[in-house]
């Protein structure tokens, strides 16, 4: 099942399938280590459309709500 990071549940693990958006966003996200094919784990989300935190490899990243809704992951449900 393909869902965005925003829709992931806390603790859920998924593989990044698609990053939508222009070159600017893709390269910023890639530089910080988020790329298609990477396995990520949702750590938490902040209310009021706040940032989403995920775990990639051994580090945590906080991503703004809008950006996170453009990153899609493949999860098993």
């Amino acid at each position: 099942m393909k869902i965005s990071i925003v829709e992931m549940k806390r603790g859920e693990i998924g593989k990044i399938a698609e990053i939508q958006g222009g070159h600017g966003i893709t390269s910023r996200v890639q530089n910080i280590g988020i790329r298609t094919g990477k396995e990520i784990k949702k750590v938490g989300s902040h209310f009021w459309r706040g940032p989403q935190t995920i775990m990639v490899d051994k580090f945590q990243v906080a991503i703004g709500h809008g950006m996170a809704s453009k990153i899609f992951v493949e999860v098993e449900r």
Binding site: S27, V29, N31, R35, G44, H46, D57, F59, A62, G64
Partner: protein, 571 residues
């Protein structure tokens, strides 16, 4: 080949600065890259007979710059003879991207596999020999905090050779890195440590917000306690019992009412030196920066340094993201505000962490108007505090409400969208005393170097303006505004003039005017709002450009007039 310049390069948050302070001796200078406000730190390293310079380059993820700091990082590569590429061993894959890009440049590179001690308890195993063979350049494991591996790193500097490597395309590069990582790194599962559990708790909103409030409250108490103790037990006794008698002797030596004693010692109050009111270069001129402001500078930067090294600030930025979005900013904009509490200059410099022009403008204007610097805060506490703590609290409440109002208004009236946060949250680390103290020392040193001469100049300027009766002349012109709108006596124009130079001296000048408490509160608030001090102004003008700076200054002046008038009516 002679090595003259060594560059220290790496991603943000890889412990570059800790390693830097291990590599260099005491002689360290912070300078601006020509034509920019991007700072870099330069030191010297002992390499056999030679003493090449070593430069700490701003952290960058890649060689395609996305911010001004990264742009500088890329430009500086051309100047280096050897690059020490600092790599976070716990985050190999992402860090290797920059490494590979550097290798493609055909410059001698040494890889410092930093934070090596962290790999063990994180369950990461790296085959260093294999990595060295694949990359074709020396790889040394280091730990910047303990100094492990630093000696070995230095030994490798003269042996570094460029690797002849064909430039790769973006996607090829990631593929290449993927292969390397697969070959050299093994991850094991292991249990969470206490710090990691704390890290999780402090990022979740439900637990994170109470924790952040607790940390704020605790920081405030520590800053206050340390500052007050230093003043009460060290600084004031020194000035009162050692310095004052000395100055009295000097006063009589120069002749009681001579010009020289007037400038150096100032006016006596009831036959004695009053350090807050005499306004001589050697009395108030030294007392303000060293006995009133410095203690709070020390305590503030001590706490800030610990929080920075602990890794707390990025978490605060994430927690604040929601609120900051209401102001058209993202969470990271809280960093310039916090730094601005220490001194508006680093606060203004930190606005370049923000991507867009709009964001920079909003953050800089908010900070310049409503975030008083520690020097000013210390003076307000010292002066207004005598009338009662609640008036000090009132001033900060007014400024805080103003900060929120300014954010909401600016966000509404400036076109554009606020960008989103994207930030790595580093793990918590126990701060190392050595690096905290070194950072504190550098910050205190630059305060003394920059503030003391300006304070002295300010006080000299005040005396000259009074002697030439210029203040009398100007106050005649501005008296209507001051008296009718703000309810301040015309003499307070002197403080407003000096406020351009130093805000702490300006607040100090309100002291001898015999103001009512209401006037004192209004004066302190206006001094904070109406204009940044000259040092902040210079930096802001560079960061924002002339046009935006002009707009920002106009907003500041208008706000000062309106808020001052409102306070005069309400209070």
């Amino acid at each position: 080949m002679a090595i003259n310049k060594i560059l220290l390069m790496g991603n943000p948050n890889v412990g570059k600065s800790a390693l830097f302070s291990r590599l260099t001796g005491a002689r360290v200078i912070i300078s601006n890259y020509p034509g920019t406000t991007v700072e870099f730190t330069q030191g010297y390293i002992k390499l056999g007979e030679a003493n090449p310079a070593i430069i700490d380059i701003p952290g960058t993820y890649a060689l395609e710059p996305t911010s001004k700091a990264e742009e500088v990082a890329v430009r500086m590569i051309e100047e280096g003879d050897v690059i020490i590429n600092v790599v976070d061993a716990t985050n190999l894959e992402r860090n290797l991207y920059l490494t590979v890009e550097l290798l493609e440049k055909n410059i001698p590179v040494i890889v410092a596999l930093n934070m090596w001690d962290d790999t063990k308890h994180k369950g990461i195993q790296i085959d260093v020999k294999r990595l060295e063979k694949i990359l074709g350049v020396p790889v040394v494991t280091t730990c910047g905090l303990t100094g492990e591996g630093v000696k070995e790193l230095v030994e490798h500097i003269s042996k570094a050779r460029p690797k002849k490597m064909e430039p790769l395309k973006d996607s090829e590069r990631w593929e290449y890195i993927g292969k390397i990582v697969k070959e050299v790194q093994h991850l094991h599962h292991r249990h969470h440590t206490f710090l990691e559990r704390l890290a999780d708790l402090s990022i979740r909103p439900v637990t994170g917000i109470p924790i952040s409030l607790l940390i704020m409250a605790l920081s405030f108490l520590v800053i206050r306690f340390t500052g007050e103790s230093l003043i009460g037990y060290v600084c004031e006794p020194f000035f009162e019992y050692v310095w004052a008698p000395l100055m009295m002797k000097l006063y009589h030596l120069f002749g009681a009412n001579s010009l020289l004693s007037g400038i150096l010692i100032g006016n006596l109050v009831e036959g004695r030196i009053d350090f807050a009111q005499s306004f001589g270069l050697f009395t108030t001129g030294l007392f303000v920066p060293l006995a009133m402001v410095l203690p709070y500078i020390i305590s503030f930067y001590l706490v800030l340094g610990v929080l920075e090294d602990f890794g707390y600030l990025p978490r605060l930025a994430v927690l604040a993201d929601n609120i900051m979005h209401r102001f058209g900013l993202h969470g990271y904009a809280i960093i310039p505000m916090i730094l601005g509490l220490g001194c508006n200059v680093p606060g203004a410099l930190a606005t370049r962490l923000l991507e867009g022009k709009r964001e920079k403008f909003i953050a800089a204007t908010m900070m310049a108007i409503a975030v008083p610097c520690m020097a000013q805060i210390a003076m307000i506490v010292g002066l207004v505090g005598q009338r009662g703590g609640r008036y000090v609290a009132l001033i900060f409440l007014i400024l805080f409400l103003l900060l929120i109002a300014k954010g909401l208004i600016l966000n509404r009236f400036i076109k554009g969208k606020s960008p989103e946060i994207l930030v790595e949250i580093p793990p918590y680390r126990i701060p190392h005393a050595r690096s905290v103290i070194k950072k504190l020392y550098m910050r205190i040193y630059s305060f003394i170097k920059e503030a003391v001469p300006l304070v002295l100049l300010g006080i000299l300027f005040v005396n000259v303006l009074y002697a030439l009766r210029i203040i009398d002349f100007v106050s005649g012109i501005f008296a209507p505004i001051l008296e009718r709108i703000w309810g301040l006596p015309e003499e307070s124009i002197g403080a407003l003039i000096i406020g351009f130079l130093r805000k702490d001296v300006a607040v100090g000048m309100l002291g001898p005017l015999n103001l009512t408490t209401k006037q004192l509160v209004i004066g302190s608030v206006i001094l904070s709002i109406y204009f940044p001090c000259i040092a902040t102004f210079t930096i802001l003008a560079k960061e924002l450009g002339a046009k935006d700076m002009f707009k920002s200054a106009l907003i500041m002046l208008t706000t000062a007039i309106i808020v001052g008038a409102l306070l005069n009516l309400i209070l």
